[in-house]
Amino acid sequence: MQERKVRRLEDPFAWLAAFAALALCGCAERPWNDPNIEFDPAGSTLFQTFSERPKHLDPLSAYSEDEAVFVAQIYEPPLQYAFLERPFRLEPLTLASMPEVRYEAADGTLLPPDAAPEAIAFTRYRFALKPGILFQPHPAFSRDADGGLLHHDLAPGVVASLASPWGLPSPGTRELVSADYVYQVKRLAHPRLHSPVQGLMANYIVGLGELADRLRAEHPEDTYIDLRGYSLDGARAIDDHHFEILIRGVYPQFLYWLAMPFFAPMPWEAEAFHAQSGMQERNLTLDWWPVGTGPYMLLENNPNRRMVLARNPNFRGEPFPARIAPELASGELKEAEGKSMPFIDRAVFVLEKEAIPTWHKFLQGYYDIAGIPRDSFEQVVSYGVDGSAALSAELTEHGVELLTAVEPSSIYLGFNMRDPLVGGLDERARKLRQAIAIALDTEEFISIFRNGRGTPAFGPIPPGIEGHSEGVGGINPVTHRVVDGRIQRRPIEDALTLMREAGYGDGIDPATGRALVLGFDTVAGGPDSQPVLDWHRKKLARIGIDLVIRATDYNRFQEKMRTGNAQIFQWGWNADYPDPENFLFLLHGPQSKVDGGGENAANYANPEFDALFERFRVMQPSPERAALVARMVELVRTDSPWVWGWHPVSYSLHHAWFRHAVPHPVARNSLKYRDIDGPVRTSSQRAWNQPRLWPVLAALAVLAVLAFWLARRRAAPPANAIRPVDGQRA
């Protein structure tokens, strides 16, 4: 009996039959390699990836790109960027009109709009909300027949059984009121929420710092704070649809902050709901389950695997913009004009940490948009003689389209201006820095190490922002010149001349009689970074400088920067908003990293620049302000506290079925403008992913031959068997 069982297991035909059955079971309508099997590809669902899980989804704390991609679709601050207009312009989002701005003197007297900034003690912003805006469905709003909140006193057992807020019945909603915006402004003072802009806003919003001190004193423990019980002089609800914010002095850039999630409305019910006992232990916090009025709501929250946004059924609808910048205009956008947004029902964001699988899934049509992996760049993109980027023939045949955009960012090599060798505003140090700026050939760097994905910087302000000039008028005369109408980097001889004038002829440091040694502080110490570091060394060796790479870990590097112990370093800044102030403040003396803990990483301090900046920062855009910006840019070009590196150019790919693919370098609430042609995607996925079965058939054939041979071998007597002789029985 036992032996028979063993024989059955060995039967090759049984295995063949099982394998064939398994293969046939796999035959389904959808491709076998479809990773999105839980979603209908024909539906209006966007599939894309994220590589870093968000740390916060609370609009008060969320600041990075990884977080904005979710938060900006869910929460609605009062303002937004006009998505299809250039140059960048703010427009009302939940407001009926742009905020009314009033200037007041210290005694409360109303001042005219053209009042001198120094006479203005306060600026009062008055907001009028659009009526009828509803929050997304959420159990925090559910009420019983008596009007009491249904899910605000949940039993511990109920909370323990919840995987998401959607596990509770009868999600409710209510109208957005001005008190929700005021509540969020008060949350900036919350002692446990750590908004990155708390310090900045406490300088402006009247009473915010005092409220923060009071809350810290009254609530030393981590307990729920009902902020409705606290008043804030700087934020006040006038009625359900009107509120105002009062700030000290003049801060024209404040409007840009009002387009960021920090100022999105927060319903007190949501905070109270998530503060219930046991919610934290189930990861059901407001930091992970946003509650907003935006076009989307978070349906699935698994930052370890995927995040799913679904259309907010209570969203009021918003017409697709009619005003389109000429350089962006297309038939597709024209056709969408006036149609109600959002177009996409669901957006699935899948966590992909590895570039290779992500890239292949994009090629198979399972992700709608993707970046280009560094290793595949040269196979994917080629440059024409005019420098324009083009996709490979294979991708073009697949209908893949390339989208490029200059990011509002600056990557630079900074000098520590407190350093006795490279720092300071004296002629010697200035010429030394200028010589280095000429020697470091940024154009070559972009070509070699960035695959052309960057545009050389001639100053701190990136393209698209006031103060940046294109063409020959915008060059940095310290490092570049115009020859026959073309922009050229200055020859190395100019750098050598500057070195001589600085007292370092042939790169010799007179103090030591040997080559001038400078230190490059960096976190890039791995083998991948070696070519980049070698390039820097070689470039500076041309002017006789011996660049020593001082690689260190990220923490120690940050510490060096905070304490002013770095000499030359690489740094960058990504714009918060498209205003020159957001870049020029990086060179404002009082915001020095060492002295003030600010963002001026080079610790640059030029009294003339600082004085100009103080004047400029309180001015509205005007020709006079533009002149100040130009003068400040000229000053920093001459002083060269940075080697003006490059402004990154983002390259993204999307399939033909992804519609309205217009980049906006600053706006983050872009999902509502996009559209997907699901049926085209489905047919493409099927066409590109038909399983290849010939290896199975070949294997089956080999196995069949083998089985046949084994069967024949068993049936035949062994060659050494004793054959019966005539007259004998075997």
Partner: protein
Amino acid sequence: MIRYSIRRLLYALPILLGINLATFVLFFVVNSPDDMARAQLGDKRVSEEAVERWKSERGYDLPLLLDSSAAGVQRVTHTILFQRSLTLFSFRFGSSDSGRDIGEDIRTRMWPSLAVALPTLLIGVTVNVLVALGVVSVRGSLLDRGTLVAMVALMSISALFLIIGAQYLFAIVLRWVPVSGYADGLSAARFVALPVAVGVVSGLGGGVRWYRNLFLEEVGKDYVRTARAKGLRERVVFLRHLLPNGLIPILTGIVVVLPTLFMGSLITESFFAIPGLGSYTIDALRNQDFAIVRAMVFLGSVLYMLGLLLTDLCYALVDPRIRLD
């Protein structure tokens, strides 16, 4: 056996304490509480005050190992080591430094890890045993030697190469399975098929060589000769007599890794986008999230020691010659 188990569990306590201390020291040699705060608060617009407040809220403003300003037992208890590490012995992992509940994260992430690790182990052992038995049955032949060479070659191929190669062949060229991803329930099968296959193949070289040696040792023993003398067919001798006896060290080898299967595999999970525990610790190290690091190291140590204890108990259960005193 019960007394033995209790004794072993008590022995585990000082070991766990030592591991905790070592983790603590190693972590804080590289990271300071200031670094941790800045990693959580981000790079832009982080004020000194915000850093101090963050540390204070999480108890990272305390002395690391000893509070010389405190009196009595507080010199020890009023430290980061005590308050953030030793509480683990009650299996309360608390919140990560980014605010998520660690216990909940572990409970969620261990199932995908198991979905890959358990089939990989079971199928891997089965395949290894069958191949090892096969080559033992033809020991000394060309097939045996050829298999050995193939196994050594397989051991020389990195798992990463196998992963990328398998993804290319089965997901891109043949299009049989997804390149990567995961789904809940039975749908997970199509996603774990390839990682399991890669896991099995990558473990084949070492496994077959080890099991072959075990079976070769057994095949020359008296009971095998007796079975043959009884006239049993070679197949029956192998499967009914040789296999059960050869399985003793194999089973104990499996038991030791069973508890640690929950911990997942870093490379496999990362490349196949399996949302398991494998990358949880690495992500935590990268994000300088000490709360997760200490919890995962502690959990890993406990599970490993549990595995060792179970191995000893298994030896006593399956081999009557072994007694645990």
